[in-house]
Structures are given as C-alpha cells and as structure tokens.
Symmetry: C2
Subunit: 211 residues, 2 copies
C-alpha cells in the first residue's frame, strides 16, 4: 500500500503557503492554524508531554506511523534550499529526533550522500516516482510506504496513479495562494472513494481509497 | 492502557439481546444489524476476502488489534453455557482461527484447564477485575489489554474504574430488552471525555477516554 496521512489542506485547497524559508517552513501559512488539531492528540508524532485526546483526530495521527516502513518526500519538505546544495550542513528541520523512524527517500535533482539522524536514514534520489517507489517498497520490507509531501510530490504520485489511500485534513483557514493540491476534493472521486468526516475539533477529515 | 473496541450498542443502550443460544450468540438481536458496518471494512477481524472500505469505520476495526497484548472476556462471550461445565468439548465460537491472536482471560465462576486454539490460549479465571487485569497486563508484556465484553464484563470493569479508553458503535436498531449497557452514553461523561462521530455508513461511533 502507498499512503498519504495527516496532510493538511486549507479550505481553498492549498497545502502550503508562498515564501518558504528557514523561519517559515510553510511560507505565509501559519503552521499553528494547520496543525492545531493534530497537536492536541495523544499520538501526535511530535508530542513530548503526556496527555492529549483519544477521539477521531487521534485515530488520524495514530495512523501516521501505523505499518509504515518508508517515506518518500520532496526536497521542499526536507528544507528551504533550491538548486545545487551550497551547504551540506543542512540536515533537515528535525534534528536527531526525527518523527520518521524509517528510511526516507528525498526526491531532488541535486543528489547528495545519504544522511543518518537517530534511527532515520535520508537517501537523496533523482528518480521517477515509479523508480523511487520501487526502492522505497523494498526498504519498507513488506510494510507500506508513506508519500510525505509536499503538494508537488503528492501531485506527482497522483498523476502517476501510484497512491492507494490518503487522509487529508481540511482546516477552516483560507490561504489564497501557495501550493495548490486541488480545486476540490471531488476532483479525485473518479479514481477514489471519498468519505468526508467532520471532527468535533472543527476540522474535516477526508479519507480516500482507490476504487 | 485498558481499552474497549468495536463494542456494538443498540440505539436504546443494549449490547446484546435475550435468549443467547448456540444458534443465536446475541439472543434475539440480529448480529447482521449490529456488525454490518464492521463487516464492510478492509480490516474487519473476520474478513477472509480482499477488499473493503478504508474510511472512518475502518479506523475503528483497525484499532481492535492495534497494540493489544491480551483480552479479558466474560463467560457469556465465550459460550452460551451457564453453571458448571457439562461439556468441555465446547471450545468457543471461533474454531482454530480465532480473531484474538493473544492470550485471552475468561472470567467464570467455573474454572477449567487452559485451552489453546491456533495462536490464542484461553485461561479461565474466577477472580476480581483487579486480579485478572493484573495477570492480563503481565501477559500483554507492555501492550494494552482489551476488555472484550459482553455487557456485564464491561460494566464490571467500569464500576471498578479500570478502563482508560472505549470505542462503542451505536447502530440505529432498537432491541427493547437484553443486556443493557447504559441509559445514555452521557452517564459516563463525569469520568470520560466523549466524542460522538456520525459515520457515512449510518452508525455513530462513540469515543471515550478518561478525564
């Protein structure tokens, strides 16, 4: 299975804002607006204190790691740099304590040596979706592969029709511009079943699975 | 954690009907009415064919086994017999291919030797909730313990205040009589947070977690 989980989308279809930088990983989008529902849950991957909710939202954050054996991400999720690497000291946003705990394959036109942080090794690949997926599935050793984003990477795997399941979370905030995932979630119902489930926290979870 | 999952409740609060027998494990309640939502999901524990849904209902069936290391059930879940065992040939409803895959502790006033079917061993205990839970937690080896029901067993563990998390599913069917779980789910909100999430399939999932 190839899966997308906990992918935040604004009410007008954007997964990220414009102007990504070291200080603003999501550009002009406020991460607190996008992630508040997840941060409140018991199984939020970055939770450091005990506590948190165990309702619907927690089912979604719990699923982020469930049976996942590898992640594929785009370079813009790994960092704000563009073009050739000028500084190999950049090792991602996460430090030694990454939320992944599996091999991660970073799609980039500018490859660099693999990098191990804690229990996560990042591999850099200039490859087609099909080829990097084959490698990730092998690394996942029978488990599933998560397509981690950003928007361009999810779109690329959707266009190649390589995704089996997706969970997006619509947050009631308008971004107006940025990286757009869709005009409407209904764009995908020719290929996917879609369930829309409003959460008591105020967000709306969208569950897609292949027809 | 001590958890309850996929516990079906009628709209008037019953978890089972009257007149349990070999042919009617839920008495006059029609199991198809209670379980249809679960049987449709990809991760339903008794699914034998590929396919099934991956929406909200599937999150609930998936959670049935997630991080569970042991189950505690009442004798009436194990079988329709009452009083001393007249027939030790009865080995539960499930055959060799049980849905549990962990040790199971059966509460009964009439103990009998442990029984292994496939990867599941059933232990029979005449013990307090506290004592059988201590044994189940040890057997679970760091994982969680599921309270598997029926109604009387869930009520007993609720009365002893030993449960951390529960997921019930309200089905739109009235039973009128049987084993009653509650007058209203609101009965429990003094001790538990409660989220009610309507599913597109027509049932309503109730998520409880300890305050």
């Amino acid at each position: 299975m190839v899966r997308v989980h906990n992918f935040m989308v604004s009410s007008d279809g954007y997964g990220s804002g414009v102007g990504q930088s070291l200080e603003h990983p999501f550009g002009h989008a406020n991460p607190d607006d996008l992630f508040a529902w997840a941060e409140a849950t018991a199984h939020w991957v970055n939770r450091t204190e005990p506590g948190g909710t165990y309702g619907l939202d927690d089912f979604c954050t719990r699923d982020f790691t469930w049976n996942i054996g590898a992640e594929i991400m785009g370079r813009n999720k790994f960092g704000p740099q563009r073009g050739p690497w000028e500084d190999l000291d950049w090792e991602g946003w996460w430090g030694e304590d990454t939320p992944f705990h599996t091999p991660v394959f970073v799609l980039t036109h500018h490859v660099r040596p693999s990098l191990t942080l804690g229990d996560t090794t990042f591999h850099f690949r200039n490859a087609s979706p099909q080829d990097v997926l084959a490698e990730a599935l092998e690394a996942a050793d029978g488990k599933d592969v998560r397509i981690g984003g950003g928007v361009a990477t999810v779109r690329e795997f959707l266009d190649a029709d390589l995704i089996d399941q997706m969970q997006f979370t619509l947050t009631p905030v308008e971004l107006g511009r940025g990286e757009r995932l869709w005009n409407s979630p209904e764009d995908l119902v020719d290929r996917f079943f879609l369930e829309k489930v409003p959460s008591p926290s105020g967000v709306m979870h969208l569950f897609f699975w292949r027809r």
